[in-house]
């Protein structure tokens, strides 16, 4: 077998049925084998960055490992943003890049780049395969590393001569072999007992659940644990859906744009149990004011997360699912108490609100709220990054894990469309909706063509406020409304600080998203008044296959609640509405 044949055979043995990629010079031998392997479907994206986000979306929605195949040089460097996105959100990916022949590595050959050097800080691990003999074990190890322990992306750099080389007796190993890599799965029983005891004593226990709950498949365990103990839970952006909205213990998302109930509960609690979360600054706000009076317990598979940001009294290293299963056994049932009533009051006193005046411009929150009416219970929602992302996190009624796909850690604009494509391909039959903004969608808009030709049925919602809304919001609140480079209609002769909010702005908005959709073979619909919103959603969700729905929304709308950067998370701004 050749190296290329070994690779494709290995992918099949790892259960890969779909991968994302783009061909090029040094990967020709691999694409030649793919040509003869119809059971392995490669989706040709229009950009390698989109291929990595698509593999990422596939992985987030299915729980399987996403796979990409790209060429060397620019093909490889285009995957960087996708790898970094997956790294920060702990998403299992295997990205295979071609490399120039081993004999010319280091000579600045055509399309040569040091992929291993470039990806070292943004991958869980990476490999340069130097001899074809190493290839089977490298692929086996790469998949094992990507999906075990704390998942993450693994880059494999494969020189052209290695994929062309012949190897006799190329047996694919049954087991990986990495003696230095042994993640801890089972939590220490003594620590679990200690936490059970702390729960028994606590008056105001609160859970902060993060993406680790999703990654370890512990959604069910989390709900059982919470229901046995009646402990309320805040869910980070990465964990939305792990506890269904409307559940009596649901506090919602905490942090900078978190709900009052979540932020107050985290501030007032006397026992904080962090589960599969890394206490990121967008969640904790100013650390001095974060859970100031609480005993902190932290359950995480990655020992380096424990104590990194928040001082921890009861650390438990282990797989969240395994630890929660043991913890459910160890804890005594707790009745509903005064703490539950307190959080219910916070929740009732601070509901998420907006006021859509039918005569005014469309509010983005209104569109998202209406989307709730049109989606199936099993729908997957993907977002891009910005105001629409926060509104989607707040206003979509999240029901189950792996159904809200968003770039949390890196905050990658352009993530949404390819991620939604990957999710739709990984979960055929499930409705997939992308909620994006006019800034973000343009960062990977070329993928509309990929959706069209492959009939990938993504329902694309573009909330067009004709500006970069989240930056506009910060400039308004913290930079005296000095609007710097946020208006997407701005021309060289525009007045400074206008932000496109002048009612008499004479400039047109480009591109015309409906025509862009149509040029790519997708139906496009547009609503400009509140009264048209339902009609556009009805037509969009009623159509077969991919469709783009554009909503011209009010551009001065801000995301509230909001905690300004550097403040404690109970110092909440509500704007006009809350």
């Amino acid at each position: 077998m050749t190296g290329a044949e070994i690779l494709i055979d290995a992918l099949k043995r790892e259960g890969v049925d779909i991968l994302f990629g783009y061909p090029g010079g040094v990967v020709l031998p691999i694409f030649n084998v793919l040509y003869r392997t119809p059971e392995l479907r490669l989706i040709l994206t229009r950009h390698e960055q989109a291929a990595t986000h698509a593999a990422d979306g596939y992985a987030r929605a299915t729980g399987k490992t996403g796979v990409c195949l790209v060429t060397s040089g620019p093909g490889a460097t285009n995957t960087i943003t996708g790898l970094a996105t997956a790294k920060l959100d702990s998403i299992p990916l295997v990205v295979i890049s071609g490399q120039v022949k081993t004999s010319v590595i280091g000579t600045d050959a055509f399309q040569e780049t040091d992929m291993v050097g470039l990806t070292r800080p943004i991958c869980k691990h990476n490999y340069l395969v130097q001899r074809v003999e190493e290839l089977p074990l490298v692929i086996k190890n790469a998949f094992h590393i990507a999906r075990s322990g704390r998942p993450g992306p693994v880059a494999v750099d494969l020189p052209a001569d290695v994929s062309a080389a012949e190897l006799r007796d190329a047996a694919y190993p049954d087991e990986p072999c990495i003696p230095s890599y042994q993640p801890t799965i089972k939590g220490n029983p003594r620590q679990i007992q200690k936490l059970a005891e702390a729960i028994r004593r606590a008056q105001r226990p609160t859970v902060l659940a993060g993406g680790g709950v999703v990654g370890s498949g512990a959604g069910g365990e989390l709900v059982r644990f919470l229901e046995k103990t009646n402990i309320p839970a805040a869910l980070t952006l990465m964990a939305l859906g792990c506890l269904p909205e409307g559940h009596d213990l649901f506090l919602g998302m905490p942090g900078m744009h978190g709900r009052t109930s979540a932020n107050h509960a985290l501030t007032e609690c006397d026992l904080l149990i962090g589960i599969g979360t890394r206490f990121e600054d967008r969640v904790t706000g100013n650390l001095d004011g974060f859970a100031p009076g609480a005993v902190v317990s932290h359950i995480d598979i990655d020992p380096s997360e424990i104590g990194k940001n928040v001082k921890t009294h009861i650390p438990i290293v282990g797989d969240v699912r395994s630890v929660l299963a043991d913890l459910i056994e160890a804890v005594e049932p707790r009745p509903v108490g005064p703490w539950n009533r307190t959080i219910r009051e916070w929740r009732d006193r601070h509901p998420l609100v907006y006021n859509q005046d039918p005569a005014d411009e469309i509010l983005p929150q209104y569109v998202i709220d209406r989307i709730n009416r049109w989606i199936d219970p099993g729908a997957i929602i993907a977002t891009d990054v910005g105001q629409h992302q926060m509104w989607s996190a707040l206003f979509i009624r999240h029901r189950s894990p792996r159904s809200f796909l968003s770039s949390g850690g890196l905050g990658t604009m352009g993530f949404g469309l390819p991620a939604a494509m990957g999710a739709a391909l990984g979960c055929p039959g499930r409705q997939v909706v992308l909620i994006s903004g006019d800034g973000s969608i343009q960062m990977n808009i070329q993928e509309l063509a990929t959706c069209a030709v492959n009939r990938i049925p993504v329902k694309i919602v573009v909330l067009n406020n004709s500006c970069l809304g989240m930056v506009r919001q910060w400039q308004e609140l913290f930079y005296n409304a000095a609007y710097s480079k946020i208006c997407l209609k701005e021309k060289p002769d525009c007045r400074p600080a206008c932000s496109g909010q002048r009612p008499d702005c004479p400039h047109s908005y480009w591109p015309d998203f409906v025509r862009v959709a149509e040029a790519n073979g997708l139906p496009g619909f547009r609503a400009t008044k509140p009264g048209e919103v339902d009609d556009v959603l009805r037509r969009g969700f009623g159509a077969d296959g991919p469709v783009l729905m554009e909503f011209a929304v009010k551009n001065s709308e801000n995301v509230f609640p909001m905690v300004p950067g550097g403040k404690a998370i109970n110092q909440i701004l509500y704007g006009g509405a809350g």
Binding site: V116, G117, R120, P121, K124, H125, L128, Q130, I145, I178, P179, S180, Y181, D302, P303, S304, G307, K308
Partner: protein, 158 residues
């Protein structure tokens, strides 16, 4: 308080493993005081001893991050472990004139080896516990150190 910490690291002997460790340190803004690495009697295993400056919290985080590398087998901060011997070796060229005998006497007192005596300098070789090396260097400084090579900390456990 920031303190010098000697870290012993055992890793899989693979290309780029030193770069991975250096990357963990540099991406978190740490300066490496000294680093020394060698392949061991087991050719699959590579040993690194490094010295970094940091608070106990920073050092704990950095050792955890190094441990997280897939190729890392073992990491230990041995600075405050009593049973470890931490040594350093130096080669030093000291300026001498009329005070040559004084330099040679001090060298003899410390057990430093005189490798070469030239007209205006002597070259010495000294190794020992790190605090002794620091003391020796302090005493040599007033004479004028023309050149000075140090191995970085190396340590061995009980």
């Amino acid at each position: 308080m920031k303190d010098k910490h000697t870290i012993m690291i055992t890793v899989a002997n693979r290309i780029g493993v030193l770069a991975r460790i250096a990357g963990v340190l540099s991406s978190r803004g740490f300066n490496i005081e000294s680093i020394i690495g060698w392949s061991t009697e087991n050719t699959d295993v590579y040993q690194i001893h490094l010295v970094i400056l940091g608070t106990p919290g920073e050092i704990e985080q950095i050792t955890k991050q190094i441990h997280k590398l897939i190729d890392t087998i073992k990491v230990a901060d041995i600075s405050h472990k009593k049973k470890y011997i931490i040594y350093e070796f130096i080669l030093i060229k000291v300026r001498t004139g009329r005070n040559r005998q004084e330099v040679l006497d001090l060298a003899a007192a410390f057990g430093a080896k005189v490798v070469d005596i030239a007209r205006t300098a002597v070259r010495l070789d000294f190794g020992g516990p790190v605090h002794q090396v620091e003391r020796f260097l302090d005493l040599m400084k007033p004479f004028g150190i023309k050149e000075f090579i140090r191995s970085g900390h190396i340590a061995v456990g009980p």
